[in-house]
């Protein structure tokens, strides 16, 4: 399993805050996203938006980064704190 989290505007657009994704083998962040989109085709515009940021285990990660069972993955829009 990989825990997948969505935040802020992205969470609201998808109508989903978190999900558990079944994974047996390591795969790239991009492949994980594509698998999720295959299951939820209506999420593609929001999840593939240019400005969406991804984090693996709470650190910002590039699409080619490899994730594995037990990891925590998050997708979120540009940050606006401070």
């Amino acid at each position: 399993m990989i825990k997948v989290l969505f935040f802020a505007k992205l969470r609201e657009s998808l109508g989903c805050g978190s999900l558990e994704w079944p994974v047996q083998e390591p795969l790239s962040l991009k492949d994980l996203r594509d698998q999720i989109i295959a299951r939820h085709p209506e999420w593609e515009p929001d999840l593939c938006a240019q400005n969406v940021i991804a984090a693996v285990n709470q650190a910002v990660a590039a699409p080619h980064e490899v994730v594995q069972p037990g990891d925590e993955v998050a997708f979120y829009p540009p940050v606006t704190g401070g």
Binding site: Q58, P77, G81
Partner: protein, 153 residues
């Protein structure tokens, strides 16, 4: 020098945080603070309240990483970063960054650096509550530029 990082709903008192820092080292010559405050107006739009969401766990890590970078870059005696989350009214304090150093120039630069990176790297999101409805705040490109200028120096 262990930075103090705190994320939560509780408000803060700048005076108390300055005294806490001063009690840590007697080599401090200057303390710089930044207090971020909720405005009643954003780009001409009246804002009644604001909700601040964050990514628990990652937020603390991101702030600690930014504080760590600042402490490697400048000679600092203390760093405090407090970021509130939850519901805010205009005039409420949102964020506090305290940097202390022997010499004021280092404290000023480190404080501004931490704010610039916090604005562009730490997972917080603001949603404004107005008479016309609720709106997620868009990221400012001026904040990106502010953070970028530290790369070239």
């Amino acid at each position: 020098m262990e930075p103090l990082i705190r994320v939560g709903e509780a408000d803060f008192d700048v005076g108390v945080e300055v005294q806490r820092v001063l009690a840590m080292a007697d080599t401090i010559g200057g303390v710089v603070n930044f207090v971020g405050v909720m405005r009643s107006n954003n780009d001409g739009r009246a804002v009644e309240a604001m909700h601040l969401e964050h990514y628990p766990g990652m937020t603390e890590k991101a702030l600690a990483a930014i504080a760590q970078q600042a402490s490697e870059r400048w000679s600092l005696e203390a760093i405090t970063v407090i970021h509130r989350v939850g519901l805010f009214k205009p005039g409420d304090q949102i964020v506090l960054v305290v940097t202390a150093a022997s010499h004021r120039g280092e404290a000023f630069q480190a404080c501004e650096f931490i704010m610039d990176f916090l604005k562009t790297r730490a997972p917080f999101w603001k949603k404004e509550i107005t008479a016309q409805g609720e709106f997620w705040v868009d990221a400012r490109s001026s904040d990106d530029s502010a953070a970028d200028r530290w790369q070239s120096t």
